[in-house]
Protein backbone atom coordinates (compact mmCIF):
# COMPACT_ATOMS: atom_id res chain seq x y z
CA UNK A 1 0.00 0.00 0.00
CA UNK A 2 1.11 3.54 -0.69
CA UNK A 3 0.33 6.08 2.03
CA UNK A 4 -1.83 9.05 0.98
CA UNK A 5 0.49 11.75 2.32
CA UNK A 6 3.52 10.16 0.62
CA UNK A 7 1.65 9.85 -2.65
CA UNK A 8 0.50 13.47 -2.79
CA UNK A 9 3.84 14.89 -1.63
CA UNK A 10 5.67 12.89 -4.31
CA UNK A 11 3.14 13.61 -7.06
CA UNK A 12 2.96 17.36 -6.51
CA UNK A 13 6.71 17.86 -6.11
CA UNK A 14 7.41 15.55 -9.05
CA UNK A 15 4.94 17.53 -11.15
CA UNK A 16 6.67 20.80 -10.30
CA UNK A 17 10.12 19.26 -10.77
CA UNK A 18 9.46 17.68 -14.17
CA UNK A 19 7.89 20.92 -15.38
CA UNK A 20 10.88 22.98 -14.26
CA UNK A 21 13.29 20.58 -16.01
CA UNK A 22 11.33 20.90 -19.26
CA UNK A 23 10.84 24.64 -18.90
CA UNK A 24 14.45 25.32 -17.90
CA UNK A 25 16.00 26.58 -21.12
CA UNK A 26 12.79 27.48 -22.91
CA UNK A 27 11.52 29.64 -20.11
CA UNK A 28 14.17 30.72 -17.70
CA UNK A 29 17.71 30.04 -18.83
CA UNK A 30 17.23 31.06 -22.48
CA UNK A 31 20.27 30.55 -24.69
CA UNK A 32 22.71 29.83 -21.91
CA UNK A 33 24.79 26.77 -22.78
CA UNK A 34 25.19 23.73 -20.54
CA UNK A 35 28.87 22.84 -20.11
CA UNK A 36 29.91 19.92 -22.30
CA UNK A 37 30.78 17.62 -19.39
CA UNK A 38 27.37 18.01 -17.79
CA UNK A 39 25.69 17.26 -21.11
CA UNK A 40 27.79 14.11 -21.38
CA UNK A 41 26.50 12.94 -17.99
CA UNK A 42 22.87 13.86 -18.73
CA UNK A 43 23.07 11.62 -21.78
CA UNK A 44 23.27 8.55 -19.58
CA UNK A 45 20.71 9.33 -16.85
CA UNK A 46 18.02 6.92 -18.04
CA UNK A 47 20.41 4.12 -18.90
CA UNK A 48 22.11 4.60 -15.52
CA UNK A 49 18.98 4.57 -13.32
CA UNK A 50 16.61 2.08 -14.97
CA UNK A 51 18.82 -1.03 -14.76
CA UNK A 52 19.67 -0.40 -11.10
CA UNK A 53 16.03 0.25 -10.24
CA UNK A 54 14.76 -3.05 -11.59
CA UNK A 55 17.70 -5.34 -10.78
CA UNK A 56 16.38 -6.28 -7.30
CA UNK A 57 12.84 -6.75 -8.69
CA UNK A 58 14.16 -9.26 -11.21
CA UNK A 59 16.62 -11.06 -8.93
CA UNK A 60 14.76 -11.03 -5.64
CA UNK A 61 11.07 -10.31 -6.31
CA UNK A 62 8.95 -9.46 -3.29
CA UNK A 63 6.12 -11.83 -4.29
CA UNK A 64 8.44 -14.87 -4.11
CA UNK A 65 9.63 -13.76 -0.67
CA UNK A 66 12.94 -12.58 -2.11
CA UNK A 67 14.12 -15.86 -3.61
CA UNK A 68 15.33 -16.18 -7.18
CA UNK A 69 12.65 -17.32 -9.63
CA UNK A 70 14.16 -18.88 -12.80
CA UNK A 71 10.99 -18.15 -14.78
CA UNK A 72 11.34 -14.45 -14.11
CA UNK A 73 15.04 -14.44 -14.97
CA UNK A 74 14.37 -16.10 -18.33
CA UNK A 75 11.42 -13.78 -19.00
CA UNK A 76 13.64 -10.76 -18.21
CA UNK A 77 16.28 -12.07 -20.60
CA UNK A 78 13.60 -12.48 -23.29
CA UNK A 79 12.47 -8.84 -22.90
CA UNK A 80 16.04 -7.68 -23.13
CA UNK A 81 16.91 -9.67 -26.25
CA UNK A 82 13.70 -8.76 -28.07
CA UNK A 83 14.15 -5.12 -26.99
CA UNK A 84 17.63 -5.01 -28.50
CA UNK A 85 16.31 -6.04 -31.92
CA UNK A 86 12.74 -4.73 -32.02
CA UNK A 87 10.71 -2.05 -30.27
CA UNK A 88 9.56 -1.81 -26.66
CA UNK A 89 6.04 -3.07 -27.32
CA UNK A 90 7.21 -6.36 -28.82
CA UNK A 91 9.66 -6.70 -25.95
CA UNK A 92 6.94 -6.31 -23.29
CA UNK A 93 4.68 -8.83 -25.02
CA UNK A 94 7.59 -11.28 -25.38
CA UNK A 95 8.55 -10.90 -21.72
CA UNK A 96 5.13 -11.37 -20.17
CA UNK A 97 4.37 -14.12 -22.71
CA UNK A 98 7.56 -15.97 -21.74
CA UNK A 99 6.67 -15.72 -18.06
CA UNK A 100 3.17 -17.12 -18.59
CA UNK A 101 4.43 -19.86 -20.89
CA UNK A 102 7.19 -21.01 -18.52
CA UNK A 103 4.78 -21.02 -15.62
CA UNK A 104 2.26 -23.02 -17.62
CA UNK A 105 4.93 -25.56 -18.65
CA UNK A 106 6.87 -25.89 -15.41
CA UNK A 107 4.54 -24.51 -12.76
Amino acid sequence: MIAQDIFWTVTILLGIGTFLIRFSFLGILGDRRIPEWIMAHLHYTAVAIFPALITPHVLWPEVTGGTIDPNRLIAAAAVFLVGLRFNAVFAIVAGMGTLYLLRYLFG
Binding site: I21, G27, H43, T45, I49, P51, H57, E62, F80
Partner: protein
Amino acid sequence: MTSEMGRIFRRGFLDCAPFIVIVIPYATLFGVVARDAGLEVYEVMAMSVLVIAGASQFTAVALMQDHAPVLIILMASLAVNLRMAMYSAALAPHLGHLRFWLRGLVAYMMVDQSFALSVRKYETEPEMTRQAKAAYYFGTLVAVAPLWYICTFAGAVIGQAIPPVFSLEFAVPVCFIAMTAPMLRSLPHVVAAFVSVVAAIVLGWMPYNLWLIAAGMLAMMAGAQTEFYLKRKVAR
Protein backbone atom coordinates in the same frame (compact mmCIF):
# COMPACT_ATOMS: atom_id res chain seq x y z
CA MET B 1 -4.36 30.24 -37.99
CA THR B 2 -3.77 30.49 -41.74
CA SER B 3 -4.31 27.44 -43.93
CA GLU B 4 -0.55 27.19 -44.39
CA MET B 5 -0.11 26.86 -40.63
CA GLY B 6 -2.92 24.34 -40.56
CA ARG B 7 -1.08 22.28 -43.15
CA ILE B 8 2.14 22.30 -41.11
CA PHE B 9 0.23 21.46 -37.93
CA ARG B 10 -1.30 18.45 -39.70
CA ARG B 11 2.15 17.48 -41.02
CA GLY B 12 3.44 17.34 -37.43
CA PHE B 13 0.40 15.38 -36.34
CA LEU B 14 0.84 12.81 -39.13
CA ASP B 15 4.60 12.50 -38.61
CA CYS B 16 4.01 11.70 -34.96
CA ALA B 17 0.97 9.46 -35.51
CA PRO B 18 2.96 6.20 -35.92
CA PHE B 19 4.19 6.61 -32.34
CA ILE B 20 0.70 6.01 -30.99
CA VAL B 21 1.43 2.26 -31.24
CA ILE B 22 4.05 2.80 -28.54
CA VAL B 23 2.20 5.36 -26.43
CA ILE B 24 -1.09 3.44 -26.16
CA PRO B 25 0.29 0.23 -24.58
CA TYR B 26 2.83 2.14 -22.51
CA ALA B 27 0.22 4.50 -21.03
CA THR B 28 -2.26 1.69 -20.50
CA LEU B 29 0.38 -0.33 -18.72
CA PHE B 30 1.12 2.58 -16.42
CA GLY B 31 -2.53 2.78 -15.46
CA VAL B 32 -2.68 -0.95 -14.80
CA VAL B 33 0.55 -1.05 -12.80
CA ALA B 34 -0.28 2.04 -10.72
CA ARG B 35 -3.69 0.61 -9.89
CA ASP B 36 -2.03 -2.69 -9.01
CA ALA B 37 0.29 -0.78 -6.65
CA GLY B 38 -2.79 0.33 -4.71
CA LEU B 39 -3.50 3.78 -6.16
CA GLU B 40 -7.08 4.90 -6.74
CA VAL B 41 -8.17 5.75 -10.27
CA TYR B 42 -8.27 9.48 -9.46
CA GLU B 43 -4.77 9.27 -7.99
CA VAL B 44 -3.46 7.61 -11.14
CA MET B 45 -5.05 10.38 -13.19
CA ALA B 46 -3.72 13.12 -10.91
CA MET B 47 -0.25 11.75 -11.47
CA SER B 48 -0.61 11.51 -15.25
CA VAL B 49 -1.94 15.07 -15.47
CA LEU B 50 0.55 16.67 -13.07
CA VAL B 51 3.68 14.79 -14.09
CA ILE B 52 2.94 13.62 -17.67
CA ALA B 53 6.26 11.75 -17.91
CA GLY B 54 6.14 7.98 -18.25
CA ALA B 55 9.61 7.10 -17.02
CA SER B 56 9.29 9.35 -13.95
CA GLN B 57 5.85 8.02 -13.10
CA PHE B 58 6.89 4.37 -13.38
CA THR B 59 9.97 5.09 -11.25
CA ALA B 60 7.98 6.94 -8.60
CA VAL B 61 5.31 4.24 -8.33
CA ALA B 62 7.91 1.46 -8.11
CA LEU B 63 9.79 3.31 -5.36
CA MET B 64 6.66 4.30 -3.42
CA GLN B 65 5.75 0.62 -3.42
CA ASP B 66 9.24 -0.16 -2.07
CA HIS B 67 8.56 2.39 0.73
CA ALA B 68 11.60 4.43 -0.23
CA PRO B 69 12.03 7.84 1.47
CA VAL B 70 10.38 10.77 -0.36
CA LEU B 71 13.70 12.46 -1.08
CA ILE B 72 15.08 9.35 -2.79
CA ILE B 73 11.87 8.87 -4.79
CA LEU B 74 12.08 12.45 -6.03
CA MET B 75 15.79 12.30 -6.85
CA ALA B 76 15.48 9.08 -8.85
CA SER B 77 12.25 10.05 -10.62
CA LEU B 78 13.56 13.47 -11.57
CA ALA B 79 16.92 12.05 -12.66
CA VAL B 80 15.32 9.82 -15.29
CA ASN B 81 13.67 12.93 -16.70
CA LEU B 82 16.80 15.10 -16.78
CA ARG B 83 17.23 14.38 -20.47
CA MET B 84 14.34 16.81 -20.94
CA ALA B 85 16.69 19.62 -19.93
CA MET B 86 18.68 18.79 -23.05
CA TYR B 87 15.50 18.84 -25.11
CA SER B 88 14.60 22.20 -23.62
CA ALA B 89 18.02 23.58 -24.55
CA ALA B 90 17.74 22.21 -28.08
CA LEU B 91 14.23 23.62 -28.60
CA ALA B 92 14.92 27.04 -27.09
CA PRO B 93 16.48 28.59 -30.25
CA HIS B 94 13.43 27.50 -32.28
CA LEU B 95 10.53 28.03 -29.89
CA GLY B 96 11.98 30.54 -27.41
CA HIS B 97 10.20 33.40 -29.19
CA LEU B 98 6.73 32.18 -28.18
CA ARG B 99 4.67 33.92 -25.56
CA PHE B 100 5.39 32.94 -21.97
CA TRP B 101 2.27 30.80 -21.51
CA LEU B 102 2.81 29.05 -24.84
CA ARG B 103 6.36 28.21 -23.84
CA GLY B 104 4.84 26.83 -20.65
CA LEU B 105 2.63 24.59 -22.78
CA VAL B 106 5.60 23.54 -24.94
CA ALA B 107 7.39 22.55 -21.74
CA TYR B 108 4.46 20.89 -19.97
CA MET B 109 3.73 18.49 -22.82
CA MET B 110 7.28 17.88 -23.96
CA VAL B 111 7.75 14.21 -24.88
CA ASP B 112 10.57 12.30 -26.52
CA GLN B 113 8.79 11.80 -29.82
CA SER B 114 7.77 15.46 -30.31
CA PHE B 115 11.25 16.62 -29.47
CA ALA B 116 12.98 14.17 -31.79
CA LEU B 117 10.68 14.86 -34.76
CA SER B 118 10.67 18.63 -34.34
CA VAL B 119 14.41 19.11 -34.00
CA ARG B 120 15.00 16.90 -37.02
CA LYS B 121 12.44 18.90 -39.00
CA TYR B 122 13.98 22.25 -37.96
CA GLU B 123 17.43 21.05 -39.00
CA THR B 124 16.40 19.66 -42.39
CA GLU B 125 14.25 22.70 -43.20
CA PRO B 126 16.09 25.72 -41.80
CA GLU B 127 13.93 28.08 -43.88
CA MET B 128 10.87 27.31 -41.72
CA THR B 129 9.35 30.40 -40.13
CA ARG B 130 9.09 30.62 -36.33
CA GLN B 131 5.35 30.32 -36.62
CA ALA B 132 5.66 27.19 -38.73
CA LYS B 133 8.08 25.66 -36.23
CA ALA B 134 5.59 26.17 -33.42
CA ALA B 135 2.69 24.81 -35.53
CA TYR B 136 4.70 21.68 -36.33
CA TYR B 137 5.66 21.10 -32.69
CA PHE B 138 2.09 21.42 -31.43
CA GLY B 139 0.93 19.10 -34.23
CA THR B 140 3.24 16.36 -32.96
CA LEU B 141 2.02 16.94 -29.39
CA VAL B 142 -1.65 16.61 -30.24
CA ALA B 143 -0.96 13.19 -31.80
CA VAL B 144 0.38 11.64 -28.60
CA ALA B 145 -0.13 13.74 -25.46
CA PRO B 146 -3.94 13.34 -25.07
CA LEU B 147 -3.48 9.57 -25.43
CA TRP B 148 -1.35 9.62 -22.31
CA TYR B 149 -4.36 10.71 -20.23
CA ILE B 150 -6.93 8.58 -22.03
CA CYS B 151 -4.91 5.37 -21.93
CA THR B 152 -3.68 5.70 -18.35
CA PHE B 153 -7.34 6.12 -17.41
CA ALA B 154 -8.30 3.05 -19.44
CA GLY B 155 -5.44 1.12 -17.85
CA ALA B 156 -6.42 2.17 -14.34
CA VAL B 157 -9.98 1.01 -14.93
CA ILE B 158 -8.95 -2.27 -16.60
CA GLY B 159 -6.31 -2.84 -13.92
CA GLN B 160 -8.87 -3.66 -11.26
CA ALA B 161 -10.19 -6.51 -13.37
CA ILE B 162 -6.87 -8.30 -13.92
CA PRO B 163 -6.36 -11.15 -11.40
CA PRO B 164 -3.03 -11.57 -9.51
CA VAL B 165 -2.29 -14.79 -11.40
CA PHE B 166 -1.05 -12.61 -14.27
CA SER B 167 1.81 -11.29 -12.11
CA LEU B 168 1.32 -7.70 -13.18
CA GLU B 169 3.90 -6.57 -10.65
CA PHE B 170 6.43 -8.10 -13.02
CA ALA B 171 5.23 -5.80 -15.80
CA VAL B 172 7.17 -2.98 -14.10
CA PRO B 173 10.66 -4.47 -14.51
CA VAL B 174 9.61 -5.81 -17.91
CA CYS B 175 8.62 -2.34 -19.01
CA PHE B 176 11.88 -0.80 -17.79
CA ILE B 177 13.97 -3.46 -19.54
CA ALA B 178 11.98 -2.89 -22.71
CA MET B 179 12.67 0.86 -22.47
CA THR B 180 16.37 0.38 -21.75
CA ALA B 181 17.35 -2.30 -24.27
CA PRO B 182 16.79 -0.11 -27.37
CA MET B 183 18.94 2.63 -25.76
CA LEU B 184 22.03 0.41 -25.75
CA ARG B 185 23.19 1.65 -29.13
CA SER B 186 26.72 2.69 -28.19
CA LEU B 187 29.51 1.36 -26.00
CA PRO B 188 29.14 4.11 -23.33
CA HIS B 189 25.44 3.24 -22.97
CA VAL B 190 26.27 -0.44 -22.56
CA VAL B 191 28.96 0.36 -19.97
CA ALA B 192 26.58 2.62 -18.04
CA ALA B 193 23.84 -0.04 -17.96
CA PHE B 194 26.32 -2.72 -16.88
CA VAL B 195 27.76 -0.61 -14.05
CA SER B 196 24.19 0.22 -13.01
CA VAL B 197 23.26 -3.45 -12.56
CA VAL B 198 26.49 -4.43 -10.81
CA ALA B 199 26.32 -1.42 -8.47
CA ALA B 200 22.69 -2.20 -7.60
CA ILE B 201 23.75 -5.69 -6.49
CA VAL B 202 26.96 -4.69 -4.71
CA LEU B 203 25.52 -1.61 -2.97
CA GLY B 204 22.19 -3.20 -2.07
CA TRP B 205 23.09 -3.06 1.64
CA MET B 206 22.84 0.76 1.71
CA PRO B 207 19.89 2.09 3.75
CA TYR B 208 17.05 4.38 2.57
CA ASN B 209 17.40 3.14 -1.04
CA LEU B 210 20.57 5.21 -1.30
CA TRP B 211 22.03 2.37 -3.34
CA LEU B 212 19.82 3.51 -6.22
CA ILE B 213 21.22 7.04 -6.23
CA ALA B 214 24.78 5.76 -5.81
CA ALA B 215 24.36 3.20 -8.60
CA GLY B 216 22.83 5.84 -10.88
CA MET B 217 25.67 8.28 -10.30
CA LEU B 218 28.37 5.66 -10.76
CA ALA B 219 26.74 4.45 -13.96
CA MET B 220 26.38 8.00 -15.32
CA MET B 221 30.04 8.68 -14.64
CA ALA B 222 30.99 5.36 -16.23
CA GLY B 223 29.02 6.26 -19.36
CA ALA B 224 30.47 9.76 -19.62
CA GLN B 225 34.02 8.61 -18.93
CA THR B 226 33.75 5.90 -21.58
CA GLU B 227 32.55 8.55 -24.03
CA PHE B 228 35.49 10.83 -23.17
CA TYR B 229 37.89 7.91 -23.46
CA LEU B 230 36.61 6.95 -26.91
CA LYS B 231 36.85 10.58 -28.06
CA ARG B 232 40.44 10.84 -26.86
CA LYS B 233 41.27 7.60 -28.64
CA VAL B 234 39.85 8.92 -31.91
CA ALA B 235 41.65 12.24 -31.47
CA ARG B 236 45.01 10.55 -31.12
